[in-house]
Point group: C2
Chain length 196, copies 2
Protein backbone atom coordinates (compact mmCIF):
# COMPACT_ATOMS: atom_id res chain seq x y z
CA UNK A 1 0.00 0.00 0.00
CA UNK A 2 1.20 3.52 -0.81
CA UNK A 3 1.46 5.77 2.20
CA UNK A 4 0.01 8.60 0.20
CA UNK A 5 2.09 11.41 -1.18
CA UNK A 6 0.25 13.91 0.96
CA UNK A 7 0.77 12.13 4.28
CA UNK A 8 4.40 11.74 3.39
CA UNK A 9 4.90 15.43 2.74
CA UNK A 10 3.00 16.23 5.92
CA UNK A 11 5.36 14.13 7.96
CA UNK A 12 8.38 15.71 6.32
CA UNK A 13 7.36 19.27 7.19
CA UNK A 14 6.46 18.28 10.71
CA UNK A 15 9.82 16.67 11.23
CA UNK A 16 11.61 19.66 9.71
CA UNK A 17 9.80 21.96 12.13
CA UNK A 18 10.65 19.81 15.13
CA UNK A 19 14.24 19.35 14.06
CA UNK A 20 14.98 23.01 13.40
CA UNK A 21 13.14 24.32 16.44
CA UNK A 22 14.94 21.79 18.58
CA UNK A 23 18.25 23.10 17.34
CA UNK A 24 17.26 26.73 17.88
CA UNK A 25 15.63 26.16 21.27
CA UNK A 26 18.72 24.36 22.46
CA UNK A 27 21.19 27.00 21.38
CA UNK A 28 19.27 30.20 22.11
CA UNK A 29 16.58 29.17 24.57
CA UNK A 30 12.83 29.08 24.10
CA UNK A 31 12.22 32.75 24.77
CA UNK A 32 14.92 34.04 22.45
CA UNK A 33 13.71 32.13 19.40
CA UNK A 34 11.02 33.65 17.21
CA UNK A 35 8.61 31.66 15.11
CA UNK A 36 9.78 33.49 12.01
CA UNK A 37 13.28 32.17 12.65
CA UNK A 38 11.97 28.63 13.00
CA UNK A 39 9.87 28.61 9.86
CA UNK A 40 12.68 30.17 7.85
CA UNK A 41 15.08 27.46 9.00
CA UNK A 42 12.53 24.76 8.24
CA UNK A 43 11.79 26.20 4.81
CA UNK A 44 8.08 26.67 5.40
CA UNK A 45 5.75 29.45 6.56
CA UNK A 46 3.85 30.20 9.73
CA UNK A 47 0.74 28.80 8.13
CA UNK A 48 2.37 25.40 8.01
CA UNK A 49 3.54 25.69 11.61
CA UNK A 50 0.10 26.50 12.92
CA UNK A 51 -1.40 23.74 10.84
CA UNK A 52 0.73 21.25 12.77
CA UNK A 53 0.95 22.91 16.19
CA UNK A 54 -1.63 25.03 17.93
CA UNK A 55 0.92 27.25 19.64
CA UNK A 56 4.61 27.88 20.14
CA UNK A 57 4.43 26.08 23.47
CA UNK A 58 3.00 22.98 21.87
CA UNK A 59 5.77 22.93 19.31
CA UNK A 60 8.18 23.04 22.23
CA UNK A 61 6.24 20.22 23.81
CA UNK A 62 6.77 18.05 20.75
CA UNK A 63 10.49 18.80 20.88
CA UNK A 64 10.68 18.00 24.58
CA UNK A 65 8.85 14.74 24.02
CA UNK A 66 11.43 13.70 21.47
CA UNK A 67 14.32 14.62 23.76
CA UNK A 68 12.80 12.79 26.72
CA UNK A 69 12.33 9.64 24.72
CA UNK A 70 15.90 9.71 23.52
CA UNK A 71 17.22 10.13 27.05
CA UNK A 72 15.00 7.38 28.41
CA UNK A 73 16.08 5.03 25.65
CA UNK A 74 19.76 5.62 26.24
CA UNK A 75 19.35 5.05 29.96
CA UNK A 76 17.30 1.91 29.54
CA UNK A 77 19.88 0.62 27.11
CA UNK A 78 22.61 0.92 29.72
CA UNK A 79 20.58 -0.31 32.65
CA UNK A 80 19.03 -3.30 30.93
CA UNK A 81 22.51 -4.62 30.15
CA UNK A 82 22.82 -5.49 33.83
CA UNK A 83 21.16 -8.45 35.41
CA UNK A 84 21.23 -7.42 39.04
CA UNK A 85 18.52 -4.91 39.91
CA UNK A 86 20.84 -2.95 42.17
CA UNK A 87 23.40 -2.59 39.45
CA UNK A 88 20.65 -1.48 37.09
CA UNK A 89 19.97 1.41 39.45
CA UNK A 90 23.62 2.40 39.71
CA UNK A 91 24.38 2.17 36.02
CA UNK A 92 21.11 3.88 35.12
CA UNK A 93 21.89 6.83 37.35
CA UNK A 94 25.39 7.09 35.98
CA UNK A 95 24.05 6.94 32.45
CA UNK A 96 21.66 9.76 33.22
CA UNK A 97 24.48 11.94 34.50
CA UNK A 98 26.48 11.26 31.38
CA UNK A 99 23.67 11.77 28.89
CA UNK A 100 22.30 14.89 30.56
CA UNK A 101 25.60 16.65 30.27
CA UNK A 102 24.73 17.42 26.66
CA UNK A 103 23.89 21.15 26.53
CA UNK A 104 21.12 20.50 24.03
CA UNK A 105 19.35 18.24 26.47
CA UNK A 106 20.11 20.57 29.36
CA UNK A 107 18.46 23.66 28.05
CA UNK A 108 15.35 22.00 26.65
CA UNK A 109 14.73 19.32 29.24
CA UNK A 110 15.97 20.85 32.46
CA UNK A 111 15.85 24.61 32.14
CA UNK A 112 13.09 25.65 29.75
CA UNK A 113 10.89 22.59 30.14
CA UNK A 114 9.39 23.37 33.54
CA UNK A 115 9.03 27.09 32.82
CA UNK A 116 7.35 26.74 29.44
CA UNK A 117 4.97 23.89 30.18
CA UNK A 118 4.63 24.44 33.90
CA UNK A 119 6.22 22.19 36.44
CA UNK A 120 3.31 19.78 36.87
CA UNK A 121 3.01 19.05 33.17
CA UNK A 122 6.76 18.71 32.88
CA UNK A 123 6.67 16.26 35.76
CA UNK A 124 3.92 14.28 34.11
CA UNK A 125 5.93 13.97 30.91
CA UNK A 126 8.99 12.90 32.83
CA UNK A 127 6.92 10.31 34.60
CA UNK A 128 6.02 8.62 31.34
CA UNK A 129 9.63 8.31 30.19
CA UNK A 130 12.85 8.28 32.19
CA UNK A 131 11.14 8.93 35.51
CA UNK A 132 9.22 5.71 35.19
CA UNK A 133 12.37 3.65 34.91
CA UNK A 134 13.74 5.11 38.13
CA UNK A 135 10.52 4.56 40.04
CA UNK A 136 10.30 1.04 38.61
CA UNK A 137 13.79 0.04 39.70
CA UNK A 138 13.35 1.57 43.14
CA UNK A 139 10.08 -0.28 43.56
CA UNK A 140 11.71 -3.55 42.53
CA UNK A 141 14.53 -3.04 44.98
CA UNK A 142 12.11 -2.42 47.83
CA UNK A 143 10.10 -5.49 46.88
CA UNK A 144 13.13 -7.74 46.75
CA UNK A 145 14.24 -6.33 50.10
CA UNK A 146 17.47 -4.77 48.91
CA UNK A 147 16.60 -1.29 50.12
CA UNK A 148 14.61 -0.31 53.18
CA UNK A 149 10.85 -0.45 52.88
CA UNK A 150 9.49 3.08 52.33
CA UNK A 151 7.25 5.07 49.97
CA UNK A 152 8.74 5.14 46.49
CA UNK A 153 7.61 8.57 45.35
CA UNK A 154 9.57 10.77 47.76
CA UNK A 155 12.67 8.81 47.00
CA UNK A 156 12.15 9.10 43.28
CA UNK A 157 11.82 12.86 43.43
CA UNK A 158 14.79 13.33 45.70
CA UNK A 159 17.05 11.29 43.45
CA UNK A 160 15.65 12.70 40.23
CA UNK A 161 16.14 16.26 41.46
CA UNK A 162 19.62 15.52 42.72
CA UNK A 163 20.67 14.15 39.35
CA UNK A 164 19.05 16.97 37.38
CA UNK A 165 20.86 19.65 39.31
CA UNK A 166 24.12 17.71 39.31
CA UNK A 167 23.91 17.31 35.55
CA UNK A 168 23.46 21.04 35.07
CA UNK A 169 26.44 21.72 37.25
CA UNK A 170 28.60 19.13 35.57
CA UNK A 171 27.91 20.59 32.14
CA UNK A 172 29.20 23.96 33.30
CA UNK A 173 32.14 22.59 35.25
CA UNK A 174 35.64 22.47 33.80
CA UNK A 175 37.32 19.94 36.03
CA UNK A 176 36.84 16.45 34.53
CA UNK A 177 37.24 14.98 38.00
CA UNK A 178 33.91 16.52 38.99
CA UNK A 179 32.00 13.78 37.20
CA UNK A 180 33.73 11.09 39.22
CA UNK A 181 33.29 12.97 42.46
CA UNK A 182 29.60 13.45 41.80
CA UNK A 183 29.04 9.83 40.87
CA UNK A 184 30.88 8.71 43.99
CA UNK A 185 28.80 10.95 46.22
CA UNK A 186 25.62 9.79 44.50
CA UNK A 187 26.48 6.13 44.88
CA UNK A 188 27.29 6.71 48.54
CA UNK A 189 23.85 8.20 49.02
CA UNK A 190 22.23 5.34 47.16
CA UNK A 191 24.04 2.82 49.30
CA UNK A 192 22.50 4.48 52.33
CA UNK A 193 19.15 3.14 51.21
CA UNK A 194 20.24 -0.48 51.43
CA UNK A 195 19.24 -2.61 54.37
CA UNK A 196 22.35 -3.34 56.39
Amino acid sequence: MTRGIRAEQRERTRQALVRESRRLFATLGYGAVGLSEIVRAAGVTKGALYHHFSSKAELFRAVLEQVQEEVAERIAETADAREDTWEQLISGCQAFLTVSTDPVIQRIMLVDGPAVLGWSEWRAMNETTSGRHLAQVLGDLIEEGTITAQPVEPLTHLLSGAMNEAALWLAASKDPADLDDTQNALVAMLRALRVT
Copy 2:
Protein backbone atom coordinates in the same frame (compact mmCIF):
# COMPACT_ATOMS: atom_id res chain seq x y z
CA MET B 1 19.52 64.56 58.25
CA THR B 2 16.53 64.47 55.95
CA ARG B 3 16.62 61.59 53.50
CA GLY B 4 15.33 63.90 50.83
CA ILE B 5 11.77 63.84 49.62
CA ARG B 6 12.89 62.76 46.20
CA ALA B 7 14.93 59.74 47.31
CA GLU B 8 12.04 58.72 49.50
CA GLN B 9 9.54 58.78 46.67
CA ARG B 10 11.99 56.91 44.47
CA GLU B 11 12.25 54.13 46.98
CA ARG B 12 8.48 53.92 47.33
CA THR B 13 7.87 53.45 43.61
CA ARG B 14 10.66 50.92 43.36
CA GLN B 15 9.24 48.90 46.20
CA ALA B 16 5.75 49.11 44.72
CA LEU B 17 7.06 47.76 41.43
CA VAL B 18 8.89 44.91 43.08
CA ARG B 19 5.97 44.06 45.33
CA GLU B 20 3.32 43.99 42.62
CA SER B 21 5.45 42.21 40.06
CA ARG B 22 6.36 39.63 42.65
CA ARG B 23 2.70 38.97 43.27
CA LEU B 24 1.91 38.75 39.56
CA PHE B 25 4.96 36.66 38.64
CA ALA B 26 4.12 34.24 41.40
CA THR B 27 0.49 33.75 40.42
CA LEU B 28 0.69 33.85 36.63
CA GLY B 29 4.33 33.13 35.84
CA TYR B 30 6.91 35.42 34.27
CA GLY B 31 5.85 34.90 30.68
CA ALA B 32 2.15 35.45 31.24
CA VAL B 33 2.56 38.81 32.96
CA GLY B 34 2.76 41.94 30.85
CA LEU B 35 4.54 45.08 31.88
CA SER B 36 1.34 47.04 31.45
CA GLU B 37 -0.28 44.85 34.06
CA ILE B 38 2.57 45.45 36.46
CA VAL B 39 2.68 49.21 36.15
CA ARG B 40 -1.09 49.42 36.44
CA ALA B 41 -1.00 47.43 39.68
CA ALA B 42 1.85 49.54 41.01
CA GLY B 43 0.08 52.77 40.09
CA VAL B 44 2.87 54.08 37.87
CA THR B 45 3.73 54.05 34.16
CA LYS B 46 6.23 52.23 32.03
CA GLY B 47 8.48 55.27 32.11
CA ALA B 48 8.90 54.76 35.84
CA LEU B 49 9.58 51.06 35.42
CA TYR B 50 12.32 51.59 32.87
CA HIS B 51 13.80 54.33 35.00
CA HIS B 52 14.38 51.78 37.74
CA PHE B 53 15.01 48.61 35.75
CA SER B 54 16.67 48.25 32.40
CA SER B 55 14.51 45.32 31.30
CA LYS B 56 11.73 43.00 32.33
CA ALA B 57 14.29 40.34 33.19
CA GLU B 58 16.12 42.67 35.54
CA LEU B 59 12.90 43.49 37.32
CA PHE B 60 12.44 39.77 37.77
CA ARG B 61 15.97 39.57 39.03
CA ALA B 62 15.22 42.11 41.75
CA VAL B 63 12.18 40.09 42.77
CA LEU B 64 14.15 36.86 42.84
CA GLU B 65 16.84 38.48 44.96
CA GLN B 66 14.26 39.47 47.51
CA VAL B 67 12.75 36.00 47.58
CA GLN B 68 16.15 34.33 47.92
CA GLU B 69 17.11 36.52 50.84
CA GLU B 70 13.87 35.77 52.63
CA VAL B 71 14.33 32.04 52.19
CA ALA B 72 17.95 32.16 53.31
CA GLU B 73 17.01 34.18 56.37
CA ARG B 74 14.29 31.81 57.44
CA ILE B 75 16.58 28.83 57.03
CA ALA B 76 19.47 30.44 58.90
CA GLU B 77 17.06 31.34 61.66
CA THR B 78 16.10 27.72 62.15
CA ALA B 79 19.56 26.29 61.71
CA ASP B 80 21.37 28.75 63.95
CA ALA B 81 19.11 27.81 66.83
CA ARG B 82 21.02 24.52 67.03
CA GLU B 83 24.43 24.19 68.54
CA ASP B 84 25.55 20.94 66.98
CA THR B 85 26.71 21.36 63.38
CA TRP B 86 25.10 18.10 62.32
CA GLU B 87 21.77 19.19 63.71
CA GLN B 88 22.16 22.48 61.92
CA LEU B 89 22.31 20.58 58.65
CA ILE B 90 19.26 18.48 59.43
CA SER B 91 17.11 21.34 60.68
CA GLY B 92 18.27 23.60 57.87
CA CYS B 93 17.26 21.06 55.24
CA GLN B 94 13.92 20.49 56.89
CA ALA B 95 13.37 24.24 57.08
CA PHE B 96 14.08 24.54 53.37
CA LEU B 97 11.52 21.88 52.54
CA THR B 98 8.94 23.65 54.65
CA VAL B 99 9.62 27.16 53.38
CA SER B 100 9.86 26.17 49.73
CA THR B 101 6.42 24.63 49.77
CA ASP B 102 5.02 28.14 49.38
CA PRO B 103 3.76 28.39 45.78
CA VAL B 104 4.96 31.98 45.55
CA ILE B 105 8.51 30.92 46.24
CA GLN B 106 8.14 27.88 44.01
CA ARG B 107 7.24 29.60 40.82
CA ILE B 108 9.70 32.47 41.11
CA MET B 109 12.67 30.72 42.65
CA LEU B 110 12.50 27.21 41.28
CA VAL B 111 10.58 27.29 38.00
CA ASP B 112 11.01 30.65 36.30
CA GLY B 113 14.32 31.62 37.88
CA PRO B 114 16.61 29.37 35.85
CA ALA B 115 14.74 29.90 32.59
CA VAL B 116 14.57 33.70 32.78
CA LEU B 117 18.06 34.45 34.02
CA GLY B 118 19.75 31.36 32.68
CA TRP B 119 20.87 28.52 34.86
CA SER B 120 24.40 29.75 35.56
CA GLU B 121 23.27 33.15 36.76
CA TRP B 122 20.55 31.58 38.83
CA ARG B 123 23.13 29.27 40.36
CA ALA B 124 25.38 32.22 41.15
CA MET B 125 22.56 34.01 42.94
CA ASN B 126 21.71 30.92 44.90
CA GLU B 127 25.33 30.58 45.86
CA THR B 128 25.31 33.98 47.54
CA THR B 129 22.26 33.20 49.68
CA SER B 130 20.81 29.90 50.81
CA GLY B 131 23.29 27.83 48.81
CA ARG B 132 26.16 29.27 50.79
CA HIS B 133 24.71 28.10 54.07
CA LEU B 134 24.47 24.55 52.82
CA ALA B 135 28.02 24.52 51.46
CA GLN B 136 29.24 26.12 54.68
CA VAL B 137 27.67 23.53 56.94
CA LEU B 138 28.81 20.64 54.76
CA GLY B 139 32.35 22.04 54.78
CA ASP B 140 32.28 22.35 58.55
CA LEU B 141 31.07 18.80 58.94
CA ILE B 142 33.85 17.49 56.76
CA GLU B 143 36.41 19.52 58.66
CA GLU B 144 35.23 18.30 62.03
CA GLY B 145 35.27 14.77 60.70
CA THR B 146 31.58 14.08 61.06
CA ILE B 147 31.06 13.21 57.42
CA THR B 148 33.43 11.47 55.07
CA ALA B 149 36.15 13.59 53.49
CA GLN B 150 35.16 14.47 49.92
CA PRO B 151 34.75 17.48 47.62
CA VAL B 152 32.02 19.77 48.90
CA GLU B 153 30.62 21.07 45.63
CA PRO B 154 29.21 17.86 44.16
CA LEU B 155 27.55 17.11 47.44
CA THR B 156 26.08 20.57 47.65
CA HIS B 157 24.52 20.34 44.20
CA LEU B 158 23.16 16.87 44.74
CA LEU B 159 21.46 17.85 47.97
CA SER B 160 20.32 21.22 46.73
CA GLY B 161 18.76 19.67 43.64
CA ALA B 162 17.14 16.91 45.65
CA MET B 163 15.48 19.41 47.94
CA ASN B 164 14.38 21.72 45.14
CA GLU B 165 12.63 18.95 43.28
CA ALA B 166 11.16 17.49 46.45
CA ALA B 167 9.79 20.89 47.43
CA LEU B 168 8.06 21.25 44.07
CA TRP B 169 6.53 17.83 44.43
CA LEU B 170 5.44 18.42 48.00
CA ALA B 171 3.67 21.64 47.08
CA ALA B 172 1.58 19.74 44.53
CA SER B 173 0.96 16.71 46.71
CA LYS B 174 -2.23 16.25 48.69
CA ASP B 175 -1.20 13.67 51.24
CA PRO B 176 0.19 15.46 54.31
CA ALA B 177 2.21 12.35 55.12
CA ASP B 178 4.36 13.04 52.07
CA LEU B 179 6.30 15.73 53.90
CA ASP B 180 7.28 13.32 56.65
CA ASP B 181 8.17 10.58 54.20
CA THR B 182 10.37 12.94 52.22
CA GLN B 183 12.12 14.28 55.26
CA ASN B 184 12.76 10.75 56.48
CA ALA B 185 14.21 9.70 53.17
CA LEU B 186 16.33 12.82 53.03
CA VAL B 187 17.68 12.33 56.54
CA ALA B 188 18.49 8.72 55.70
CA MET B 189 20.52 9.89 52.74
CA LEU B 190 22.27 12.52 54.82
CA ARG B 191 23.15 9.95 57.43
CA ALA B 192 24.87 7.97 54.73
CA LEU B 193 27.48 10.69 54.54
CA ARG B 194 28.56 10.23 58.14
CA VAL B 195 31.70 8.32 58.96
CA THR B 196 30.70 5.10 60.66
